[in-house]
């Protein structure tokens, strides 16, 4: 029996580069950095005083009363999902709610709500803690709000696999449609944890860049001067749809989600496997799942977070699983690392790279690591035909996810 083909028919995002997909993509192709200095008073005490903050505040999009009951990660998931939904033209399509599912995850969840409400608890006592606290901090909150907004009744799912979350949520959406449990899945990731505690925690791991004096140069994947990732916030959401359903309603199709590969390292809670074994298997599984030959992969949107170890491990994994021919991009050089939203935003970049025939640039790659033997579109975008592209996402916990997108 032929397997169900799954296509992408809608995109939505709010990111450090723009309040929607079009402005984000334009900024990426222009090689702009979304990283800036943290000017909040609390930042002064931290070793890391830079981050990639949202270009458009949620308060410019959602009304005040609505925002009172949404964690920031929920608000931006909702904004991205509304955009994707409108973009897909599904609003008045007569889609059966029981054929619509949601798969939206977060790496950390409603941490800022928990911390803010704990401040209230300490200062004013339990009666002053907001009755909205639990639905604001629960990790399924973003998915649940999106499901509520869109009326999804085929299941609302919230994957949590750290920095692989956004990609794994999309992979789950693929599975749901292939399994016949829904015709349409609104899938993606969200993250909003620019707060002193998460920053201090990541900084204590020595995982973050401390290039505080040059925010725009701090995220520099594969560059010799890289010294850790730059925390970003944002949300990315795609509308996945069975190809037959999309065709029947005459939907515009961006690309095909041809396959996904998910593996786990079983090696260390935070260190990636020393030979990238799990990453290699994830990519190989994705290519097999997509029934794509590795020679056909022309572009990879790499996970490449700008950490000393991880960046080069991924290069080794790509050489082994794909080869030396694809043109790479590390869009985190511009967006920072959106943690649980990264795999979703980078899937959107991968999809648009295919659609527009252009590899987005990797900025700040001034002095490439000696081990960088693959071709990277450094500084400037590269125009080329991209029939097949790969997006990688890896997360603390040993999660490895690879997604294969192909031209529709």
């Amino acid at each position: 029996m032929a397997r169900t083909d799954v296509v992408v028919t809608g995109l939505g995002a709010t990111t450090p580069l723009g309040g929607d997909v079009a402005s984000t993509w334009d900024a990426m192709l222009a090689g702009r950095s979304g990283v800036s200095a943290l000017t909040q008073e609390w930042a002064g005490q931290l070793p890391v005083r830079i981050a990639a903050q949202l270009a458009v505040e949620p308060s410019e999009v959602l009304d005040r009363v609505r925002l009172r009951r949404l964690d920031r990660s929920e608000a931006i998931a909702l904004i991205a999902a509304q955009q994707a939904w409108a973009d897909a033209g599904l609003a008045d399509s007569g889609l059966d709610p029981e054929r619509l599912a949601v798969s939206v995850g977060s790496g950390i969840g409603g941490a800022t709500t928990m911390l803010a409400q704990d401040d209230i608890l300490e200062a004013s006592g339990p009666r002053r803690v907001s009755p909205h606290t639990v639905p604001m901090l629960m990790p399924n909150g973003p998915a649940a709000w999106v499901g509520l907004e869109l009326g999804a009744k085929a299941g609302v799912h919230s994957v949590a696999s750290a920095c692989a979350t956004g990609a794994e949520a999309i992979a789950l959406g693929l599975d749901i449609i292939r399994a016949g449990r829904a015709d349409v899945v609104v899938a993606g990731g969200t993250e909003a944890v620019i707060h002193p505690l998460p920053i201090a925690g990541f900084a204590s791991m020595r995982a973050m860049s401390t290039r505080n004096d040059e925010p725009e140069k701090a995220s520099r994947p594969w560059d010799k001067g890289r010294d850790g990732f730059v925390l970003g916030e944002g949300a990315g959401v795609v509308v996945l749809e069975s190809a037959a359903h999309a065709a029947a309603r005459g939907a515009r199709v961006y690309a095909r989600l041809a396959g996904a590969g998910i593996t786990s390292d079983a090696y260390d809670i935070v260190q990636p496997h020393a030979e990238g074994e799990g990453a290699i298997r994830a990519i190989q599984k994705a290519l097999a799942d997509a029934d794509v030959a590795k020679m056909d992969v022309m572009h990879v949107n790499a996970h490449a977070t700008s950490t000393p170890v991880g960046d080069m491990l991924e290069i080794g994994a790509l050489r082994k699983a794909v080869g030396d021919h694809p043109v790479l991009s590390a869009t985190k050089s511009m967006t920072g690392h959106l943690l649980g939203a990264a795999g979703a935003l980078e899937s959107i970049a991968t999809i648009l790279a295919i659609r527009d025939g252009v590899v987005p640039p990797t900025i700040n790659l001034d002095d490439p690591d000696d081990g960088l033997t693959l071709d990277v579109a450094a500084h400037k975008p590269r125009h080329m035909e991209i029939p097949v592209a790969l997006n990688n996402a890896f997360g603390f916990g040993g999660h490895n996810v690879a997604l294969v997108f192909t031209r529709a």
Binding site: D63, V65, R69, S130, P131, H132, P135
Partner: protein, 79 residues
Amino acid sequence: MTRDEITAGLAEILEEVAGVNPDDVAEGKSFTDDLDVDSLSMVEVVVAAEEKFGVKIPDNEVQNLKTVGDAVSYIAAQS
């Protein structure tokens, strides 16, 4: 404090917490049916009203406060 003053105070809270138009707030209005205040927002309204009017509204009383007028009467009797 007059009943009108309490009603006006409640209207301010309802606008802040639930986005209710102050012009819609009147003694005969039901919190849930007319003003669309859900159960979690009602908790916020009660806590804010306790602070604003210097009264205590125990949880077992809240279920009896169906309308703005019920709340005004309760607050007027306590303050």
